[in-house]
Symmetry: C2
Subunit: 105 residues, 2 copies
């Protein structure tokens, strides 16, 4: 799926880490939410509320999921899931384009 | 209007200047197009195809429109229009969030 149809987009961006990470919120008719974001090179730690499915559309990064000691490498496209109410770390080596789905359980 | 409803969003980002400028494309039912973008601090020159109406949602920047010798300053919210098939320059002093409308004439 290369595009989201019949959605609502919030105009204002979400900005993190001095804008090195930014995203736009997309709302779906079924009440679900995704964000489309860009991460510039850097090291970041994020916390989740809902469970998150991170789809990497393009990029080069390493991910440390909660409770793990091994970093996962993603080059190009990839996907990882982060449990609700947890923290994960990212080492972004080149500009990374992502779509994040928030899963209410 | 704080959000765009009943639209299609292209998932993949548009990236310029090593990702210091990025945007997402939003398509409307009437066939028109806008982009929602972020510009990090820096100096940029852009060219237009269609006429562009740039709505600054937040930021701090100066704009040099084609044929002008005076820079326009925008802090916070603002708007400027760029003719089709022309070039304009930007000096972005702090992270700038924008919505750009492409006007076919």
């Amino acid at each position: 799926m290369s595009q989201y149809e019949n959605v609502t987009v919030i105009k204002k961006a979400n900005l993190y880490f001095d804008g090195k990470v930014s995203s736009r919120t997309v709302l779906f008719a079924d009440g679900t939410k995704k964000t489309l974001g860009i991460m510039l090179p850097g090291e970041y730690e994020f916390g989740t509320d809902a469970k998150e499915i991170m789809e990497i559309l393009a990029g080069d990064l390493k991910v440390l999921l909660p409770g793990e000691s091994e970093w996962i490498s993603i080059s190009g496209e990839g996907e990882f899931t982060v449990p609700a109410n947890s923290k994960f770390k990212l080492q972004v080596a080149s500009i990374t384009d992502y779509a994040c789905s928030y899963i209410q359980e």
